[in-house]
Symmetry: C2
Subunit: 377 residues, 2 copies
């Protein structure tokens, strides 16, 4: 039996369950980003309380610190982090790509300098699988090459070939019972995206991710690339749009048939005082909130919204209190998880299309999709 | 009936209850420091969960941001901060003293420049009471002058006179039903400490604080000054040793008859990775903890100790994750509150003296008492 079961579809959108070694995950799902051992500013118990089912960890960061061997010795990432839900680890392709001149890509693997201390490292696709198995991930990602935007058709085509060969080596080196996803690349060339998808399908992965976005491309081009690939991906495997996005991107992605999302936006925006509400995004530092006794979002049941006024949140943000980062993050992540719950409910009730139209016409908040650099949490 | 009832004494140490407008506080008590609207890195619900009964706020900081008028409009400090326990506010004397050349003290009041934006402010003893009443404090402190160490007998004597006159003006300006404590000053001169205490006793305050310490004086001199004053303070009023200290200081203070303590040490040390355990203080960044699977303190029941290893806490600290500040602070504050609970229990059972001897012979952790600057959280 497949680990992934579609329960209900509405056009391309689908409600499904993904079984992992650490419980069942209902999709469409948003995975809060716990780059290097923690979802920034939050505790594992908060994530549980707000209904997170799966979080993301980053093989690149955890390999550097504290080291995958150490995490293995400590009983694996779940035990180490006190998190008993599922964990997906990103392979580090995007992070290594973000290092720019500090990395060199060859057939055998990638050489790079650590962003922390400049030390030299060499990682192969096999070693990256081993790192993720040492970490104890439920879902591992193949090492891929993420090309910059714009890149030539020639360079991108050669890169897709490399990513495919690395994917084959990744699969061949897989040892334990966790899942392995392939990552469709191909830059902004439809033919290369199709080729990449076909190559990976032939290797038969547990799921398929769409990678190589958030590198500065126009959003329209990104959605075009998603559309090109979606028709090819098998219905019986989960589809994961990596690194996206704003709430409207997620609603859009679900409508195109995406099942899994991750993004640093809710956590990073929280630390910058940008908070999501059911009517759009606000910046809590704005003076108009100084005497605002109302909660961030009247419809939100998170701890932040049920106990504090905008005036208090603004005060904590302006005075740079650590508690501000905590309360803001608690809310933004709750908001994202709440949005996913709503999406699943709408699909279940066969009302997703109506929800989509309503959301897209009423939502005002942060549509500009910016590059996210080293993508640390 | 007095707001303060002694339930049991053992030599000078006493177990008592202090009634406030926001509930009864069992003493000896430690007040976590919530300088400018939050105990740094914690949530109100954490404080409740770990048994905090009263927290400290700082009139100086809250006057500057967000302003006492705003807090009043928002329903007072408890409602603003989502904290339903008691609040004591420091008058700002110590903070203004810490500003050094930026402040000028005159009979009428004190002129100072904000440490935030350099703006000029003038505060009188009456205005400082009003600020604290606006904030909605359960216990207000009189504005005092805190002299530097060393200061001449002449200067200190004149300063005690001023502090007494300010205390009289503070009392005369008190409007609402909250309590007002006087602050005994007198630097490191026993005769002036006695004079200050006598002057304040004549004014009859709800409680008496010992202030003007943590200014660079040797700890032995500080305890001498405490000893000089303690004999004079009435048994039926709470005694508060301001700004102290390390665990051993608190145990020592209780033995001398002190009822109330506050200090930034547990919170500030937490942010610096210095963590208190039942056998002393450790620095979590130390490499020897990299693979340590045990909790910080086997005997501690806080969330941090019941869920995480030293290896994980070290990793979070080394990678500067915000979650590190949170988990560390949660533990250190729990440790302090646990120590106070233990102290109360020992007094109740008539075993405090035995506990004192055992603690002082076995405890290894951070006895050096350092000046704490602007004293922000």
């Amino acid at each position: 039996m497949s680990a992934f079961r579609v329960l209900k579809s509405e056009r391309e959108a689908r409600l499904a369950v993904l079984e992992t070694l650490h419980g069942a995950v209902e999709t469409p799902v948003f995975m809060p980003v716990g780059t290097q051992g923690a979802v920034k500013a939050l505790l594992a118990r908060d994530l549980k309380e707000m209904g997170a089912q799966i979080i993301l960890g980053n093989a690149y960061h955890l390999y550097l610190r504290p080291g995958d061997g150490l995490v293995k010795e400590m009983g694996g990432i779940q035990r180490f982090e006190g998190w008993d839900g599922a964990v997906l680890t990103d392979s580090g392709g995007y992070q290594i790509f973000s290092l720019g001149v500090l990395r060199k890509i060859q057939e055998e693997g990638v050489t790079f300098q650590s962003h922390i201390d400049g030390s030299k490292h060499f990682l192969t696709p096999e070693r990256v699988v081993e790192i993720q198995e040492n970490l104890g991930s439920d879902i591992c990602m193949c090492l891929d090459e993420c090309v910059s935007y714009p890149s030539s058709h020639e360079y991108t085509g050669a890169s897709v070939g490399l990513t495919t060969r690395w994917a084959a080596r990744s699969k061949a080196s897989k040892r334990n019972g966790s899942q392995l996803f392939g990552i469709v690349q191909g830059g902004m060339y439809g033919d290369l995206r199709l080729q990449s998808a076909r190559d990976l399908l032939a290797l038969d992965f547990d799921g398929y991710a769409l990678g190589g976005f958030s590198v500065g491309e126009p959003k329209g081009v990104m959605w075009e690339m998603v559309d090109v690939v979606m028709g090819l991906l098998p219905a019986e495997r989960p589809r994961y749009l990596m690194g996206l996005g704003f709430p409207a991107d997620i609603v859009e992605g679900v409508r195109k048939g995406i099942d899994m999302f991750d993004c640093v936006i809710p956590t990073r925006h929280a630390r910058n005082g940008k908070l999501f509400t059911s009517t759009g995004r606000i910046n809590i530092k704005h003076a108009r909130f100084a005497r605002d006794e109302t909660p961030l979002d009247e419809t939100c049941r998170c701890y932040t919204c049920s106990h504090f006024s905008k005036a208090y949140l603004r005060h904590l943000f302006v005075t740079r209190e650590l508690t501000s980062y905590y309360l803001n993050t608690l809310h933004n992540v709750s908001f994202y998880l709440g949005l996913m719950k709503r999406i699943r409910e709408e699909i279940k009730q066969g009302r997703f299309e109506a929800f989509y139209n309503e959301f897209m016409s009423e939502w005002k908040g942060g549509e500009v999709h910016d590059g996210l650099g080293i993508c640390n949490g």
